[in-house]
C-alpha cells in the first residue's frame, strides 16, 4: 500500500497558489456554515427534546427579517465566490502574448506533443520553468482533456477544432499529466508526465533532439501533397497565395470576413468548402482522412513561416487579392 498520504497537490504553476487561496476562502465559508447548521441542529435537538409524548409546542411566527437576512448574506458571499473564480478563469483563458506555443494531439489513448523546434514526444512534455507555455490542442478521435493537477489547469481537447490552455511552471519537477475526459477502454492509461526544467536544461534537452523544425516538415509536406501547385507564392494559382495569410483578416466569398488563425487554416485544409476566399472557387479537395492532425499542425507552422507580406496589416485587407486568379462565377 502506498505509504504517502498527501492532502494537497503541489503548487507548481503561477496559477496554483491563486486557486488554492480561493479554495481556502471557500473552505472557510463552508466550514462556518457547516458548523452553524450542525451546531444548531445538535443544540436544538438536545435543548428541545421531547420530554412527554403529550407536549405541544407553541408555534413560532415566521418573520420576513430573518428570511431576508439568511438569503442576502449567503448571496453576497456567493457573489464573492463568483467574482474571484471568474477573475482566475479570465487569466486561465487568456495566454500571455509571449507564451511559447506547443501543439498537443490527443488520440485513444496517448498524448502526442510537438515543439516548434521539431521535437516530438508521446505522453511526456518537457517545458522550461518561468515561461508561459501555450498549448494548442486537438483530438484525432473522441474528446479528451488535458489535465495537470499540480498546475490546476484543465482543458478539454475536442475533435474538429482547436482549444487552448496555458500555464507557467514555477519549479522544476515531474508532474502528473492525466486525461480527464472519459475516452474509452484505456482512459486511465492515457496519462503521462510533464517535466518542468530550468531554462538551460530545457535548451540542452531541445538540442538533444535532431529533428527539423515543425515548419520545415510542413514545407516538405506542402510539396508532397502538391499544395504548391495551386497555392503559388505569387498568387498566380487556382488558390490564393498563402504568404502572410496567417493573422490577417480574410474576405470570404458571399460576404463576411474571418481572422486567419490556426483554427481557420485547419478548417480550410480539412473542410475547404466551409469558408471560401472571395474571388476563388470552392474547388479544393478535402484532406480529411488523408493527413493526420500532426500533419495539419506542420502545415500550419509552415504557412505561419511564410511570413508577412510587404504592406500587410491593414485591417479588412483581403489577403489573397491577387491578379490572375480564376474569377468566381458563384
Amino acid at each position: 500500500m502506498g505509504t504517502r498520504l498527501p492532502l494537497f497537490p503541489e503548487q507548481a504553476s503561477t496559477i496554483s497558489a491563486e486557486v488554492d487561496h480561493l479554495l481556502y476562502f471557500l473552505m472557510a465559508v463552508s466550514i462556518f456554515f457547516t458548523l452553524l447548521i450542525f451546531g444548531a441542529i445538535f443544540y436544538f435537538a438536545i435543548k428541545y427534546r421531547r420530554r412527554s409524548e403529550q407536549e405541544l409546542p407553541h408555534s413560532v411566527h415566521t418573520g420576513w427579517t430573518l428570511e431576508i437576512v439568511w438569503s442576502v448574506i449567503p448571496f453576497g458571499l456567493t457573489m464573492i465566490m463568483f467574482g474571484w473564480g471568474a477573475s482566475i478563469f479570465f487569466r486561465e483563458s487568456r495566454p500571455p502574448d509571449n507564451a511559447m506555443q506547443i501543439y498537443a494531439v490527443g488520440k485513444q489513448w496517448m498524448w502526442k506533443l510537438q515543439h516548434m523546434e521539431g521535437q516530438r514526444e508521446i505522453n511526456e512534455l518537457h517545458i522550461p520553468i518561468n515561461r508561459p507555455v501555450k498549448l494548442l490542442m486537438t483530438s484525432e478521435d473522441v474528446i479528451h482533456s488535458f489535465y495537470v493537477p499540480d498546475f490546476r489547469t484543465k482543458q478539454d481537447v475536442v475533435p474538429g477544432r482547436y482549444t487552448t490552455t496555458w500555464f507557467e511552471a514555477t519549479k522544476p519537477g515531474k508532474y502528473h499529466l492525466f486525461c480527464a475526459e472519459y475516452c474509452g477502454t484505456n482512459h486511465s492509461g492515457m496519462i503521462g508526465w510533464v517535466y518542468a526544467m530550468e531554462p538551460q536544461k530545457y535548451q540542452e534537452w531541445l538540442n538533444g533532439g535532431a529533428a527539423g523544425s515543425l515548419s520545415a516538415a510542413g514545407g516538405a509536406l506542402f510539396e508532397d501533397l502538391a499544395c504548391n501547385n495551386c497555392h503559388k507564392p505569387d498568387g498566380n494559382g487556382r488558390g490564393p497565395s498563402l504568404v502572410g495569410v496567417f493573422g490577417s483578416t480574410v474576405k470570404l466569398a458571399g460576404g463576411g470576413t474571418v481572422r486567419a488563425d490556426e483554427g481557420y487554416i485547419r478548417e480550410s485544409i480539412l473542410n475547404p468548402a466551409a469558408k471560401v476566399v472571395e474571388g476563388y472557387m470552392a474547388d479544393m479537395p478535402t484532406f480529411q482522412g488523408l493527413i493526420t492532425e500532426e500533419n495539419v499542425v506542420q502545415l500550419i507552422e509552415y504557412i505561419k513561416s511564410l511570413g508577412p507580406r510587404p504592406g500587410q496589416g491593414q485591417p479588412g485587407q483581403a489577403a489573397p487579392a491577387i491578379a490572375g486568379s480564376i474569377p468566381s462565377n458563384r
Binding site: I41, L56, P57, M79, P149
Partner: protein
C-alpha cells in the same frame, strides 16, 4: 400475532388478491407499491455495481476486472441509479402513494396513465437490463459524443432506448401530479394549505414535463448518428460534439432537481412532524421549490466550463448557478429554524432528516466550489465532483428516501418497523456514507480523475478509506431491507396516526382504504396545525 386486527377493515391491500389484481390495478397506492418493488431491485443492482467498482479501486493497478468491464460497471451504475432509481425514487413511490391522500383526493387525475407509466419504467428497465446482459455499455451515463455515437462498441442503442422509454414514465408521472394538484384538491385545501411535500412534487412535475422531452430528442439524435451516420455530433461527419453536452445537460442538470426536490419535500414533512411544529417559513420553502424548478433550467452550462464553450458563456452560467444555491440555502435554514422551541423526537425518520440536512449542507456548499469558474477548472471531472454529487444524491435523496419510507411505512403497511434496529441502521448509513465520500473530496483536489480503472500509488490510502466506508454503507442499506420485510408480518400494529401528525394521510386508516377516505375531508386549517390533532397532545412551554 395481530394479523386479524390489521385485516379487520377492508383496505387497499386486502381488497382483492392475486397477481392480476396488482398488475391491472388503477389504485395509486398499489401502483406505488409496484414502483417500490421495482426500484428496490434497481437500487440493489446499482449497489452491486458500486461494490464492484469500490473493490477494484482498493489497489492502484486495474487487477480485479478488465478496463472494459470497469468502464461498463461505472456506466451501468450511473444509468441504473440515475434513470431507474433516483428519478423515480420519491415521486413514483411516496409521491404516488401520498400526494393524492395529502390533498384529500381519491386517486391521481389519470389512474390508467399512472399504471401506464409504471409499465413504461418496466419496459425501459428491461431494455437497459437487456443491454447489460447482452454485453453492457461503456459510454458513461453521460453518453458524450462522439465516443457514444462513433467509437463505442457496446450496447449504446439498447441502453439509450431504455432511457428514452423510461423518460416517458417520468413525463407522465409529472403530468399526472400537476393535473392532480390543480384539479383534485379537497374542499378547503387551498394552495397554501398544501403540505410542502405536495409543493415539492408539483415543482418536480414541472421539470419532468418540460425537461425530459429534451433528453428524449437528444437520444434520438444519438440514435440517428450511430445508426444512420447522420452528422450531428461527430465532427468527422460535420457535427459538433459539444452540442451534445448542451442538450444533455439542458435536461440532466434540471434532472438533479427532479431527484432532490421531492426529497426536500419529504424532509419538510419529517422536520415538522417530529418537532410538532409547522415548518418555519412555509411560504419561503414552498416558493423556493418553484424557484429551483425555474432557475434549474438556466444553469446547464456550468457542466461545460472546460469544454471549450466561450469564456462569456462560462461567466453567465457561473453567475446563474449561484442563484440556484440560494433557494436551497433558504430551505436548510428554515428546517433548522423549525427545530427551535419544538418538541423534538428522535424517531428514526427524524434521524434520517438530521442526516439529510447535514449531508445536503455539505453537498450544497461544495456545489459553490464547482460553480466557481477558477476552482471548477481544477476539480471538474475529478473525484471532487463525484463526492459533491454523491453528497447531494446519496446523502440527500437517499437519506430522505429512507426517512420517508420509515415515516410512512406504518401508513402503507399498517405495521411499525423495529425502532431499535432502524435507529442503528440510520447511524450506520450516516457513518458509512461519510467514510465513503469524504475522502473523495481530498482525492479530487489532489487531482484523481474520475472514471479511472487504475490510478497512481499515492491515491491508495484515500481509496482504501472510501472502499471501507462503502462496506459500512452496504451494511446500513441491507439492514432496512431485512427488518422492513420482517415487519410486514411481525411488526407492531401501527394504528392510524402513530406520530401524532396533522396531515390528511394520518386521518385515515392504516393501511388506507382503496378510496383513501370514507368521506372526502373538508379542510379548515393550515398545513401542520398540530393543535387539532385530536386529544393526543397538550400544550406546553
Amino acid at each position: 400475532m395481530n394479523t386479524a386486527a390489521v385485516q379487520e377493515r377492508t383496505n387497499y391491500l386486502n381488497e382483492s388478491y392475486g397477481l392480476k389484481s396488482w398488475l391491472l390495478t388503477k389504485d395509486h397506492k398499489r401502483i406505488a407499491v409496484l414502483y417500490f418493488i421495482t426500484i428496490s431491485v434497481f437500487f440493489a443492482m446499482g449497489g452491486v455495481f458500486a461494490s464492484l467498482i469500490r473493490t477494484e479501486l482498493l489497489t492502484p493497478p486495474g487487477d480485479l476486472v478488465s478496463s472494459e468491464t470497469y468502464n461498463k460497471l461505472f456506466t451501468m451504475h450511473g444509468v441504473i441509479m440515475v434513470f431507474f432509481f433516483l428519478i423515480p425514487s420519491v415521486p413514483a413511490t411516496m409521491g404516488n402513494f401520498f400526494l393524492p391522500i395529502m390533498i384529500g383526493a381519491r386517486d391521481l387525475a389519470f389512474p390508467r396513465i399512472n399504471l401506464l407509466s409504471w409499465y413504461l419504467l418496466i419496459v425501459g428497465g428491461a431494455l437497459a437490463i437487456f443491454a447489460m446482459v447482452a454485453g453492457g455499455v461503456d459510454t458513461g451515463w453521460t453518453f458524450y459524443t462522439p465516443y457514444s455515437t462513433t467509437y463505442s462498441n457496446s450496447y449504446v442503442i439498447a441502453t439509450a432506448l431504455g432511457i428514452f422509454v423510461a423518460g416517458f414514465s417520468s413525463i407522465l408521472t409529472g403530468l399526472n401530479f400537476i393535473v392532480t394538484v390543480h384539479r383534485m384538491r379537497a374542499p378547503g385545501m387551498t394552495w397554501f394549505r398544501m403540505p410542502l411535500f405536495v409543493w415539492a412534487n408539483y415543482a418536480t412535475g414541472v421539470i419532468q414535463v418540460l425537461g425530459t422531452p429534451v433528453i428524449a430528442v437528444t437520444l434520438v439524435l444519438v440514435f440517428c448518428e450511430r445508426v444512420f451516420h447522420i452528422g450531428i455530433f461527430d465532427p468527422a461527419l460535420g457535427g459538433d460534439p459539444v452540442l451534445f453536452q448542451h442538450l444533455f445537460w439542458f435536461y440532466s442538470h434540471p434532472a438533479v432537481y427532479i431527484m432532490v426536490l421531492p426529497a426536500m419535500g419529504v424532509i419538510s414533512e419529517l422536520v415538522s412532524t417530529f418537532s410538532r411544529k409547522p415548518v418555519f417559513g412555509y411560504g419561503f420553502v414552498a416558493f423556493s421549490s418553484m424557484a429551483i424548478a425555474v432557475i434549474g433550467f438556466l444553469v446547464w452550462g456550468h457542466h461545460l466550463f472546460v469544454s471549450g464553450q466561450s469564456l462569456y458563456a462560462g461567466l453567465v452560467f457561473s453567475f446563474l448557478s449561484y442563484f440556484v444555491a440560494i433557494p436551497s440555502a433558504i430551505k436548510v435554514f428554515n428546517w433548522t429554524a423549525t427545530l427551535y422551541k419544538g418538541s423534538i423526537s428522535y424517531a428514526t425518520p427524524m434521524l434520517y432528516a438530521f442526516g439529510f440536512i447535514g449531508l445536503f449542507t455539505i453537498g450544497g456548499l461544495t456545489g459553490l466550489f464547482v460553480a466557481s469558474l477558477g476552482m471548477d477548472v481544477h476539480v471538474t471531472d475529478t473525484y471532487f465532483v463525484i463526492a459533491h454529487f454523491h453528497y447531494v444524491m446519496v446523502g440527500g435523496t437517499i437519506m430522505a428516501y429512507l426517512g420517508g419510507v420509515h415515516y410512512w411505512w406504518p401508513k402503507m403497511t399498517g405495521r411499525m418497523y423495529p425502532e431499535g434496529w432502524a435507529k442503528l441502521s440510520a447511524l450506520i448509513v450516516f457513518i458509512g456514507f461519510n467514510l465513503t465520500f469524504f475522502p473523495q473530496f481530498i482525492l479530487g483536489y489532489l487531482g484523481m480523475p474520475r472514471r479511472y480503472h487504475a490510478y497512481p500509488d499515492e491515491f491508495q490510502v484515500l481509496h482504501v478509506l472510501s472502499t471501507a466506508g462503502a462496506s459500512v454503507l452496504a451494511v446500513g442499506y441491507l439492514m432496512p431491507a431485512i427488518y422492513l420485510f420482517w415487519s410486514l408480518r411481525y411488526g407492531e400494529v401501527a394504528g392510524a396516526n402513530p406520530w401524532g401528525a396533522p396531515g390528511l394521510e394520518w386521518q385515515t386508516a392504516s393501511p388506507p382504504p382503496t378510496h383513501n377516505f370514507d368521506k372526502i375531508p373538508v379542510v379548515t386549517q393550515e398545513a401542520y396545525d398540530f393543535s387539532k390533532v385530536a386529544g393526543e397532545v397538550i400544550e406546553v412551554g
